[in-house]
């Protein structure tokens, strides 16, 4: 019941932020840019588009729903009411993932409409949603630790290299320690390249996404308690 109340309390924030901040505009831009990239690509791949759009939209939604300094300070408000930090964290993540889901569904619907491959588009949508969930949970933990600067860095990284497997980074000539570190992060952390396999029914990728959702939410919950000054 507590978690349901948390989700119900946090969900309206998405509607308010979509309509009253630039979040709505940014999400529309992500959809438009994703579709434009797909259209101009030599080998269009709706799955890549869905994964990238889901990851980027999740980072944006978390940034606008939870990452700003006033939002982080205002975390104390729900915790002064009969709601646990876990419920607040899950509620905020659900709201942000809901925003990202709109983008994923729009991109997948466009792919289904233009290609007529409905099963493939459904798989792409599922993989995109899993990407949005995992990336969103980790971004939530990041922004409640370091603010929207970290969300900005993650956004750039996901936009530039999110779809690249770590082998492509290690395989480059003369990989330095930074590149090796980034390749290691790319291997471990939630990234669109890994969740491609969800579309083809790979349980390992799905488990990876679920694990990162749980890890991200636990870290975010711990940070929420600290931010709210609830150090019990």
């Amino acid at each position: 019941m507590d978690f349901l109340r948390g989700i119900r309390a946090e969900w309206p924030l998405l509607r308010i932020r979509l309509l009253r901040t630039r979040l709505g505009l940014w999400l529309v831009l992500v959809v438009v840019a994703s579709l434009w990239l797909e259209r101009t690509a030599t080998a269009p791949d709706p799955l890549t588009t869905s994964l990238r759009a889901g990851a980027l939209a999740a980072v944006l939604c978390i940034g606008y729903l939870a990452g700003s300094s006033p939002d982080r300070r205002a975390l104390v408000l729900p915790l002064l009411h009969p709601l646990t930090s876990g419920a607040v964290t899950v509620g905020r993540w659900c709201a942000a993932t809901g925003g990202a889901a709109l983008v994923v569904l729009a991109v997948a619907a466009h792919a289904a409409w233009t290609t007529g491959a409905v099963p493939a588009s459904l798989g792409a949508a599922l993989a995109g949603l899993a990407t949005a969930g995992a990336v969103g949970a980790c971004t939530l933990a990041l922004v409640w630790s370091g603010g929207n600067v970290l969300a900005g860095l993650l956004f750039v990284w996901l936009a530039l290299a999110g779809g690249a497997p770590p082998e492509s980074l290690i395989g480059a000539s003369h990989p330095g320690p930074t590149r090796l570190l980034l390749a290691g992060l790319q291997e471990v952390a939630p990234a669109p390249w890994r969740y491609r396999a969800i579309a083809s029914g790979d349980p390992g990728a799905a488990i990876h996404a679920v694990a990162w959702i749980l890890i991200g939410l636990m870290l975010a919950r711990w940070r929420a308690r600290r931010l709210a000054g609830r150090t019990r």
């Binding site: 924030l13 002064l80 009411h81 000054g229 019990r232």
Partner: protein, 299 residues
């Protein structure tokens, strides 16, 4: 009958890095709040008022001692249905209107018709009906404090903790907020305030707790603290060594009269060959409680 709020032997330290000694924020704090009572914790900045309220609200864990809200641990969900806390700094989620902030908080309590009623009651209690459509982050300080107060009362809480509610308010808004707190207490809620500036709280509070360096040095009904008279003696040059019972002020000397007459106290000044320019007797205010020496403190 269960005591709404009870603290017994509460102690809280804040540890500091790099081997520096910890700061003792609260030590051996004991208090009980009765239903319908308004008590105020007064003390200078850094005395531990906010820490005490945060412990009572269940936001901080005491290192030692017991805190009970109607017999429950303060961080239990049961206790949090009963305790409301209005923090000092007005911080609200951006882009939300006053009504939406209250709806956001009300969703933590209930749903449907309950929620609508909760928001309507909170708007009325805070006098915010006319500001319901305004962005909460853009409110003037008086309205922001009323919104903090309203969210603290939301859900019919039985205990309300209000941290420094009058800071930054003018006299009219202080009176307005005082009246709202009194109405809440008259309805049976227990209210614990904190304030660094007790001036003007005389008509509001039933009981005063003076906090000095983390320790409650005085816990007395307001009527006891306000009952005394003070003789102020204005002098051209304040003496370095005041007569017994007097203390030096910026303009001369000051003494609690107690049962003595003003004439007897002035005679003491003359006996010490002090050049008295003028004198007056005034009633004690709550701010005097902050400055009273510890040995004169009734517990």
């Amino acid at each position: 009958m269960t005591i709404p709020l009870q603290l017994r032997g509460v102690r809280r330290m804040f540890h500091r890095p790099f081997g520096r000694p910890p700061v003792v924020a609260i030590t051996d704090a004991t208090l009980e709040l009765a239903a319908g009572e308004i008590a105020c914790v007064v003390g200078a900045a850094g005395a531990g008022k906010t820490t005490l309220l945060r412990i009572a609200a269940g936001l901080l864990r005491p290192d030692a001692g017991v805190v009970r809200v109607a017999g429950e641990s303060p961080d239990s969900l049961t206790a949090r249905w009963m305790v409301g806390f209005a923090p000092r700094d007005p911080v609200f989620p951006p882009a939300l209107t006053v009504r939406e902030v209250l709806e956001y908080c009300a969703r933590c309590h209930g749903a449907g018709a309950d929620r609508v009623a909760l928001v309507r009651d909170a708007l009325a209690l805070g006098g915010l009906e006319g500001l319901a459509g305004r962005r909460a982050t853009m409110l003037p300080i008086a309205a922001a404090r009323r919104l903090l107060f309203a969210q603290g009362t939301l859900g019919g809480r039985r205990v309300l903790l209000v941290d420094d509610p009058f800071t930054g308010l003018d006299a009219i808004n202080r009176r307005d907020l005082s009246d709202r707190l009194q109405r809440l207490a008259a309805a049976g809620a227990s209210v614990l305030l904190s304030s660094a500036d007790p001036v003007g709280l005389e008509r509001l509070v039933d009981r005063v707790l003076v906090l000095r360096a983390g320790r409650i040095v005085r816990d007395a009904p307001a009527t006891v603290l306000l009952g005394g008279r003070v003789l102020e003696v204005i002098m051209d040059v304040p003496p370095g060594d005041p007569p017994p019972g007097f203390r030096v002020t910026a303009t001369g000397l000051e003494a609690d009269l107690g049962h003595k007459s003003a004439e007897a106290a002035l005679a003491l000044c003359r006996a010490h060959r002090l050049a008295v320019r003028a004198s007056r007797v005034r009633l004690k205010g709550l701010d005097d409680a902050l400055f009273d020496p510890l040995e004169a403190v009734p517990r």
